[in-house]
Subunit: 334 residues, 2 copies
């Protein structure tokens, strides 16, 4: 039923061999101009399109990159997804998308490897060490995006989460906040771990201790609940550092609309990521900006170094962050 046109059919129509057709569609191959034209004409007439699947089989390169993601409701990831896919497309690669549900990452990754992807980018979920080994064995480069697993053989591209957390601590202390709170993302995520560690390091350096801590699980609801809990306590915080912007929006909504408090007069709030929404005026969120474009660029170069140049050493890139001062945190010297 399917109207599949093959190179052999084109070859017959153009009165050349199948090889000639193949070479016509292989950049850099040796084909006489006349032959090429005959082939192109026949191809156009028949509606021929080289079969990427067959090509992959023989060339050993699928030109597909497996991308594992989840939680696309946090705007950070869709944006990464869009730009990364676009960057890969520009280089002739395409993105096979896997949405990982908590729990079945390994199972899904199995399937992804079955598709012979040339590399894997993990933008969420963590790589189990078993899978990491499998990828290593199969010589499939893996890049962890925005996460880092210390002793794994995978490459990673992250921003300097520790420094970011530290900057937030310094900033909040310098601007006179006394009761500091932290809303964590997921306990086991590397971004949360580093952001929190940096924050705590900053507090310790100033001799301040953390007044409140709760886990928001990177969800809107979790963050809202945590905020309520904080504010109901005996010593409510005067500043909340939230592990990412997505949760910070919920914190702001809860403080302002839910509890009728003023931000930053009553409570300061600082997020992390600097998603586009953070700049929207309804929020105007003070936050730590991740260098999204640079991270994507780094990911792409890393990938191509390994895919096309053949570099093998695993690399861990950590890019600098910067605090973006907007309207949700009292400023120093104010």
């Amino acid at each position: 039923m399917k109207n599949r046109v093959t190179s052999a059919q084109v070859a017959i129509k153009a009165d050349v061999s199948q090889s000639a057709v193949s070479r016509t569609f292989t950049p850099g191959a040796s084909v006489a101009p006349g032959t090429r034209k005959r082939v192109m004409d026949a191809a156009r007439e028949l509606g021929y399109r080289p079969n990427a699947i067959a090509r992959s089989l023989i060339s050993g390169q699928s030109k597909m990159i497996g991308l594992i993601a989840a939680y696309l409701d946090n705007q950070f990831y869709p944006i990464v997804l869009e730009r990364l896919a676009k960057a890969l497309q520009a280089r002739g690669y395409h993105t096979l998308l896997f949405i990982s549900e908590p729990g079945d990452q390994d199972h899904e990754l199995e399937k992804l490897l079955a598709y012979q992807v040339d590399a894997v980018v993990m933008a969420s979920a963590t790589l189990s060490s078993a899978l990491a080994r499998e990828c290593l064995d199969a010589a499939i480069p893996v890049v962890l995006f925005n996460r880092d697993v210390p002793n794994s053989p995978a490459n990673s591209v992250t921003s300097d989460n520790f420094a970011g957390g530290r900057q937030v601590a310094d900033y909040l202390i310098e601007s006179g906040h006394k009761q500091l709170a932290y809303i964590a993302g997921a306990e086991n995520s590397s971004t949360n771990r580093d952001r929190e560690a940096g924050f705590l390091a900053g507090l310790e350096a100033a001799g301040v201790s953390l007044a409140h801590r709760a886990v928001g699980g990177y969800t809107h609801e979790g963050a809202a609940e945590a905020t309520h809990a904080f504010m109901r306590s005996d010593n409510p915080p005067d500043a909340i550092f939230v592990a990412n912007d997505h949760m910070a929006f919920a914190v702001l909504d809860t403080l302002r609309q839910g509890l009728g408090l003023r931000v930053p007069e009553d409570v300061s709030v600082i997020g992390f990521d600097d998603v586009p929404q953070a700049a929207w005026k309804a929020y105007g969120l003070t936050t730590v900006a991740q260098p999204t474009d640079a991270m994507i660029e780094a990911t792409v170069s890393l990938l191509f170094d390994q895919l096309e140049v053949g570099h093998a050493e695993t690399t861990r890139q950590c890019l600098p962050v910067s605090l973006v001062e907007r309207d949700t945190a009292r400023r120093p010297q104010g």
Copy 2:
């Protein structure tokens, strides 16, 4: 270098034929329990994983669905992407993602077809009629998601944009608004066309004429500019219908933070889509809800009807919408 394990290697190790290995991994094939076990053991030991590329080549089914998208900054699409990909995964299909840049859709779609995707879902960009024909020729089902091209041979799943626009008009008029404005998305998008047509139909039925109209291009900035222009005019609107929520947020920010106006006291605003953000308290956007889950479900069943059952007729599904009353539009009888 690549440590590729093939079915032949497993066959040797398990002392069976390559066919036996193949059959072991083919659900429903006839294999003796003992043989299956020997094969499985050998496979596990060698780390064998069936090569989906080779399988596609011979079976003629890639089990990949091409998904074309763009504008992932509008939260509606990431969510669709996530849920759709998940639903497809659950059925053993995977998503090959293409980000279309305005202008090169055709060129990209070409590549997508080269990958032998079993079907195409277009969640943005419109299908040129040339491409539509190519897909038809290749017997590749195409589903237009949230868009509709009247005389094309493609299936479509949309919500009732016309009825939604109409409801907004009725609602705004009933609640006593006099100066109505509309901010369009992109002129050539079917969603915009239908939403606007429905809105105008409602106005006409009430004998009201549209006071203002501008094109926001589905962008934050475009909507902000349009709002400024409206409010600078001699007869500023007391209600603005915005073609989607993404732009409506910009309208709200501009009215409130930019111009110091109160919503809905001074101006009412209604959006379209009901993305999760619309429910966040900082916005509390009154909007028309698209039945996202139902649309995805419809898309998936449509796809599978065509892929596995073999139905061929093209279908156009149009699902009902509902107005969600929140806080950005004055209510009738208030």
